[in-house]
Symmetry: D2
Subunit: 377 residues, 4 copies
């Protein structure tokens, strides 16, 4: 694996590295960690990389790596830059034959999204988007139960994503994470809705297997001086007639990273909270509630295939993130070896999920500005 972005001081780059390292399937062999060659070099040293493979730019990295022998050069690129820097490296990597893992949202704008989708599809290469919350075993368990029809037709979906870390005008200080996320030139048209709203949208569609068909949004900037939305409330309608609510907020003071989803079918439903990820609350009409737990009892093959350690040994965010990387690694290994992959291990978000996410971001921002009640997705 070669990494683009994620140098000293970055948050998500380190997450990608730990997630990739966890299962011993992926070695970080090279990187272009910063747009400053000096910074990139220092980051490479921190990571014990061969200095000759620490590059000053992603372009250099892609070109130089391509020139290395096949068994030495990186197998894929991991792109962990801010949103406005996803598209160009992704396209160049693919055009040079490298598979790609990229952080979400897919791109800076819809044009890039559609263009990237075309490039990926034309190439036949693997492209994974790190909607990492789908990597949790109990999310996969819920998905499996809905797919099997355990709960009957889905009627209601409530997905919440409150954070509080932007309750003050943090970007006015030197905080790097806040700065780019609230900057329209780096983040795109959306703030909170792009950063976390799209995770919520992706999770809702992933778990239920349903597509959102219409939305009605109230999008706000609640901290004075901010340039992008920091709070959004959205009514949802799904293609099957189910109704829903989605909200994402970065001004919910005191909240950490409280992504939660509740889905109700005719016979029962589930509740899952990212901060307590090893439990899935399952409720039933007129029966007692069950707490499904990773590693306990007769879970779905999907849940079991994404659990590493026995019941009661909590797995967390990095392990779920690592499941995305692990599955990508298996698929790449199989390509190299010319073998088939167990379908259990082919599950990761794709460029199509990325395009859906970008479309959601655009429509939700449009709805927020509109007096029209419902906007089709």
């Amino acid at each position: 694996m070669g990494m683009i972005g994620g140098g000293r001081g970055a948050f998500i780059g380190a997450v990608h590295r730990m997630a990739a390292a966890l299962d011993g399937q992926i070695d970080l062999v090279c990187g272009a960690f910063s747009s400053s060659a000096e910074k990139s070099k220092l980051s490479g040293e921190d990571l014990y990389l061969d200095p000759s493979r620490v590059y000053g730019s992603y372009k250099e990295m892609i070109i130089e790596e391509k020139n290395l022998p096949e068994d030495i050069r990186m197998d894929f690129v991991s792109i962990v830059t801010p949103n406005h820097m996803h598209f160009a490296p992704a396209v160049m990597a693919i055009e040079n034959g490298f598979h790609v893992v990229a952080d979400k949202p897919l791109c800076f704008n819809m044009e890039e999204a559609y263009a990237l989708e075309k490039v990926v599809k034309d190439s036949g290469l693997i492209f994974a988007l790190t909607h990492n919350y789908t990597g949790y075993p109990m999310v996969k368990q819920a998905k499996a139960m809905f797919r099997k029809g355990d709960f009957g037709k889905i009627r209601k979906v409530v997905v919440e994503y409150p954070q509080g870390w932007l309750s003050t005008l943090l970007e006015a200080s030197d905080q790097k994470q806040a700065a780019w996320r609230t900057d329209p030139k780096k983040s795109g048209i959306a703030g909170a809705m792009g950063d976390i709203g799209t995770h919520a949208e992706n999770l809702a569609e992933y778990m239920t297997g349903l597509k959102i068909s219409e939305i009605c949004a109230d999008i706000s900037i609640l901290v004075e001086g901010r340039l992008l939305d920091d709070d959004g409330n959205v009514l949802l309608r799904f293609e099957n007639g189910a109704k829903g609510i989605l909200y994402a907020s970065q001004i919910s003071a005191g909240e950490e990273n409280n992504l939660r989803i509740k889905v109700y079918g005719e016979k029962g439903g589930v509740e899952w909270a990212q901060m307590h990820p090893n439990s899935l609350i399952v409720r039933w009409n007129d029966k007692s509630t069950q707490i499904l737990r990773t590693g306990v009892g007769d879970l779905s093959p999907e849940a079991q295939a994404h659990t590493r350690i026995p019941a009661g040994h909590p797995e967390g965010y990095l392990e779920a993130f690592g499941n995305i990387y692990r599955n990508v690694a298996r698929c790449i290994q199989a390509r190299i070896a010319g073998t088939a992959v167990d379908p259990l291990y082919t599950d990761f978000p794709t460029v199509e999920d990325g395009v859906r996410g970008m479309n959601f971001i655009y429509k939700v921002i449009e709805s927020g500005k509109s007096e029209q009640k419902w906007i089709k997705l």
Copy 2:
């Protein structure tokens, strides 16, 4: 106290009786428990009432009681009938000089609501509406903290009220509670929004001290064959600029009575859940979360005045309901004695809250049918 409605098989009548009895301040002395005189009589026997004061109709009760000596006749009437039977007995009781406690929502329709409001105000008598959830000490604690400004300006309110008991077409069976609640002739224009949505609205306004100014609603009948809404999702805007979400659902399969509210200000916020009512979760920007508990530490006078037993001895639904009755009793006692009441004990929902609730019901149903995005309250 005399009771109208609440005979054998009723749910909420028994709740009112237990709530009223709890503090030893109120004696049930008479009742017209059913529109069937025979049923009323049997219910009176169950309750050890003097048979001469078990009446065949509310009209008879009001007339006969008025004829009794002042120190013997009932001091107030408790109305626990279905919605369509609130108005007439309430008006008659007031016109005959009796204070009233009535179950929510206030009336069957807006016309009744406005008319009743006028009657109550003209009379100067006490009228209490049992939005019982405002009786919980930790709701009062949160209200006190917002009023004091502990959290700064309120930015976001999320109030949820999922139940699952109407996930099937229960009214097609003989279930009495389901039957009238889903019958437009008894319940009014709304189902879930009237039965529980109005509790959510009342709680949000009570706790925050803010008024909802605009709404945008998606109101649904999700169980085939039902005549009134069983699910509603609502975007909220508050007069101070805060944004919010309210939903009420009776088809959230497996949910019991899961009223929850989260309110966020600039500096922090609270979360309260009716099913765990003795805790108030208080979150802060960059500080650890606190769990305020009834009976522990330095709570507001309002919270303390509505707690009966020491910390760790859970109080519940009946105790909160009883707080409404206890405060009404204190106010009536003070009227009789010509004394003042400690303002801590004058807190109960009034006819104005009832009119606001009815207006909310009407506007939310209107919004549900409208293509216009925002509707003013």
Copy 3:
């Protein structure tokens, strides 16, 4: 009902009154609320009692009430005095034909306990001891499941009762509750073990249906200057071979009233916590955990018979306490009416439970002082 003790400033007297009032089956008709006749009179006024039935002493009350016509005089006595004042009024009440409800522990010492047991048994009257925690529906649910053998043979019991309110030398101030509970002349030979340890012992035996056969205790005074134990840790052995732990502590700083029990059988087990009493956690070998909830699904008749309101409407301490009174009331009513009582409603702790509790207290204190490892109960 007539009450002995429980005047102004008392805690448990008010609890008994609310618990008794809740179901509308019991009227407080008289009382001797204090050893001071003046205080008793004022307490009677607070409670709207007929002044002629507010007595200056329990002796006066029992004699005077006995002289009243049968249909007017109290049906039973409720004794809510400190431990050293249980025996004499209980014996006198019984000898004069009154049923008795008494607070725990049964008496001041073993001699009194055995003597009272004899008096009660000889009389044939009803004697109930308010080990109120057995009144919770989910405790009864667990008991029913163990009795049915749902979990196989019981192997392990862990019962914990930490409180923190005596973490300082509170009795050195004027705190009435602390003062008598830590005074050997009023409380008896034990402090925490008598006040709450005996609740833990009673709960363990009640829920499991097993008897403790041997104990090994470490009993401590951890706050300097205190005269009675404030902390005790006890190893348990049960007659069927099960092993266990019991601890009770009043110096567990910050704990409210955190009585909890876990019982494990061969196939699964339960966990119940008094501070969240409407849930029963049920665990199974290799199956997902269930959360049984009052009012939900197919609970035992015993649980259902002790639940008043629907699922999700929390019941608490007073309701459980009220179940003891309600059952006593039903049994007394049946005696008066000469009818049979549904066995579901005959369940309340008896004088035998009280003697077992006193014996537990004595043996646990003995063990605490002994170098012998195991002491038989």
Copy 4:
């Protein structure tokens, strides 16, 4: 790092590998994964190791690696075999100049423990024992608070470690984990007390900074046919006068890995549960409870130094385990570089903790067989 044990089918070997890989500080470069050379080879292939460095025995590995150039050979050995196979490889590794990380308990018996301690101390090399639960940030937070005296003198410690996986005679089937843990020839004199009781003991001493001075134990085999203890209840006395309870059980049916600890001082106390490791419940006399969370607010440097990702992104068992490895790696790196290590990163369990743990195991088993109440540690 070179690994001894942990071949295909092993549980804890994979855990050690993931924990070591997480931070990108440690490469697995060689291994002797099984006593079968063939199995070792296959395991090495799974792990993409250079076949020339996959050895048929630990002896071979230590000798061959020592012959490699310094910058190529492994820096330390990780020993993840069953208990009876800790001592010999550890001694040989140290005698050949390799640092050691070993799984707990330290050895098979006391003689080995004392001998190993001497070897380690004489060598001056690093020896770390994976009492991994001490690696959790909130455990370090609690430790820091007790050390600072935030809670005053410690009075009471309750540490529980229930598991349920040995509720049946699992060792009678082919289950590898159960088989060796219940076999006196591989596990040593203790079953549950060695496997998990020693974790509980270590956690209690680590968090409080106190030493256990006396114990009184009831040790049982509750599943018929088992050869070693599967349940143990222990009264504790600490050197400072604090009292406590420790229990460890593998027959607590339905429990996963429910290690919990509660510690109470004069002013307040903490509760920490391994299955919800990112929270530390902090209780205070007469103040509201706090929930300290990893990444939130003003935590101790020790907690912060052992947290990888922001608040609300759950870290789990592998991350805590990884903290042990990360600190060992830092210390070894510093040795190699001749630099000092920030004391924050020198915290891992040592051979002395291992000896204390072995002594605890021996004394607890002795106490279980003794009629003497207290046994000194």
